[in-house]
């Protein structure tokens, strides 16, 4: 392509259009590279003779899905995940909402150091704490208990949840709240009846985000839960393909899809509601 100045005047392929096409081509190339592993996941789940390679199934069927939809493989681990992550999320969101209220509404010389400590804690690599957590849990007999694991998961997500929740709460104007105060409402009534309903989208984002992170967390339940019947899906899938032996790859792909679906759906839910991950990116940015 020669770069003649005259080409700028040509109406069919303006400079802007050429640029857009170049950008489109580059993005499509990267997207194709990113899509290959995802394509394997979808194609293999429909292929009873799936191998490690991407290939279009000769006769697509849902046999892999019906093979894994049993109590042992799918329902029990998914229920365990739901109980573990559901209770931990509820605890995190409740504690974060309570904590965000005074941090957002009152000024004190404590609130800034508190917030800075919380922000500091959001950055700590939680992976590094897992060995002492294990040792501590053995000591205090919390090892292999679902509630102990849920409590730790809740605490590990709490700093970020407080931070997000406080930022969302800052965006709620105080006028309505003041009316409630003059009517003699307690802080709890104000929080519960006035503020939380007003910040519905914010609470949704914190809840969904917390739940999704916990749903995908592998290391925490991998270390702290030992009984096979208590393992959540993130750990059971690992034991499923952990031995690299004669694995039914198609079934593993089908189970991976079943296990991933809730978080993907939740992500779609919040990105629809709040204009994409940009909100989340912005919130992370501070």
């Amino acid at each position: 392509m020669t770069r003649l100045p005259a080409s700028r005047a040509r109406p069919l392929l303006t400079r802007r259009t050429r640029r857009r096409l170049a950008a489109d081509a580059a993005l499509l190339a990267v997207t194709a590279a990113f899509a290959v592993p995802l394509a394997w996941l979808v194609l293999s789940s429909l292929d009873t003779g799936a191998t490690l390679r991407v290939r279009v199934p000769g006769s697509p069927s849902l046999d892999n899905f019906s093979a894994v939809l049993t109590d042992e493989i799918t329902f029990t681990p998914m229920r365990n995940s739901l109980v573990l992550c559901g209770s931990a999320t509820a605890l995190t969101v409740a504690c974060a909402a309570l904590a965000a209220y005074p941090l957002s509404r009152y000024r004190s010389r404590f609130s800034r150091p508190y917030l800075l400590t919380v922000l500091f804690a959001t950055c700590l690599p939680i992976t590094a704490v897992m060995v002492p957590v294990y040792a501590l849990f053995v000591r205090v007999n919390l090892i292999d208990t679902v509630y102990g694991t849920a409590l730790f998961l809740a605490a590990s997500q709490l700093p970020f949840a407080i931070w997000l929740m406080k930022n969302f709460m800052d965006g709620i104007p105080r006028a309505l709240e003041e009316a409630a105060w003059t009517d003699g409402a307690s802080w709890f009534q104000t929080l519960w009846r006035v503020i939380l309903p007003l910040m519905g989208p914010g609470v949704t984002v914190v809840t969904v985000y917390t739940f999704a992170i916990m749903w995908g967390n592998f290391f925490v339940p991998f270390l702290l839960l030992l009984s096979p019947e208590e393992l959540p899906a993130s750990v059971s899938i690992f034991t499923f393909f952990g031995n690299y032996g004669a694995i039914a790859f198609g079934q593993l792909a089908a189970f991976s899809i079943l296990y991933s679906t809730p978080v993907v759906l939740l992500y779609v839910l919040i990105s629809r509601r709040l204009g994409g991950g940009f909100t989340l990116g912005g919130a992370v940015k501070g």
């Binding site: 499509l28 390679r53 950055c123 690599p125 897992m130 040792a135 802080w187 999704a212 978080v263």
Partner: protein
């Protein structure tokens, strides 16, 4: 403590000392559950971490752990396996977070600004799906991609290029690429937001002044988003430092210890070799590195808090 009495808050009743102190206590009481949870389950383990790192605690017979001072740390810095893990962690972080996720994320965000709407939506959907998938699923998918009988070699065969056993010959590169695949969406989102905030007149006037694409990027765009670059690098690096599941699923740190980054090394020492004290000393070092990054991050954000 006369602060409560002297500061007038929006709803403050500046009554006599004792009463306003009670009000202040009541006001801050909602912080209690979160603080308790954080102290018990986060600050507690971190404190315990500092303690165990100076003992010879083992997985069996925990009651008999005794103080060994700096022995664990001295041992670490003389241990080739530890130094190997440090080097691999640096390589993994440099390739996957700083070069990979950060640069690719910025490139994707910049290209998306010019691309047509359909392509932009498609790219966003695919890259973000890779990010949203659970860690273990991502590890499993990239295992099948890089495995000897996997898709990458199939593509190379098809192109008549030499194939090889990636997870055996270049395990650290394979897990680094896996981390790029999984983590680029975050940088892409942060940079998309930052680029969309740059007023169009600025880049246009630079273009009119005859600045080339590269000059515009270097002298106009990058300086304007430098805060986002700092934040993004910091968060990417911290996230990458603590990656465990992805590597464990793909290579378990192997073959040998050729993809054994610090978290994997820590797990190996503490649980497979039962050296809780030593493993915790490694964890403490990791935590200190993380804390240093966090402090830098807080400095970057200082004006905004």
């Amino acid at each position: 403590m006369s602060r409560a009495a002297t500061t007038t808050t929006a709803y403050g009743t500046t009554g006599p000392g004792a009463r306003s102190r009670r009000t202040a206590l009541l006001r801050w009481s909602p912080l209690a559950p979160a603080t308790l949870l954080l102290l018990l389950f986060l600050a507690g383990p971190i404190g315990y971490c500092v303690y165990i790192a100076f003992t010879d605690m083992q997985l069996t017979g925990q009651e008999s752990a005794s103080f060994v001072g700096l022995d664990n740390f001295r041992h670490a810095f003389g241990d080739p396996a530890f130094l190997n893990a440090v080097v691999l962690t640096l390589v993994f972080t440099l390739i996957s977070s700083i070069l990979g996720q950060n640069t690719l994320g910025l490139a994707l965000a910049a290209l998306m600004q010019r691309a047509s709407r359909a392509v932009r939506t498609l790219t966003g959907a695919v890259v973000i799906t890779a990010w949203v998938l659970p860690e273990i699923v991502a590890g499993f998918l990239l295992y099948t991609f890089f495995e000897r009988r996997g898709t990458l070699n199939a593509i190379l065969d098809w192109l008549h290029l030499p194939s090889q056993n990636w997870l055996f010959t270049l395990p650290i590169l394979a897990v680094s690429f896996a981390n790029v695949w999984r983590g680029t969406a975050f940088s892409m989102l942060i940079y998309s937001a930052a680029l969309s905030e740059i007023p169009q007149e600025v880049t246009e006037s630079a273009e009119v002044d005859g600045a080339s694409g590269r000059q515009r990027l270097w002298h106009v765009t990058l300086p304007m988003i430098r805060r986002s670059i700092g934040t993004n690098l910091m968060l990417n690096t911290l996230q990458t430092l603590s990656v465990f599941g992805l590597i464990w699923a793909m290579t378990r740190g192997g073959p040998g210890s050729r993809s054994q980054t610090l978290p994997v090394f820590m797990y190996d020492q503490a649980f497979l070799k039962s050296l809780i004290g030593y493993g915790t000393a490694v964890a403490l070092l990791l935590l200190v590195v993380g804390a240093l990054f966090s402090v830098v991050y807080l400095r970057l954000l200082r004006e905004e808090v």
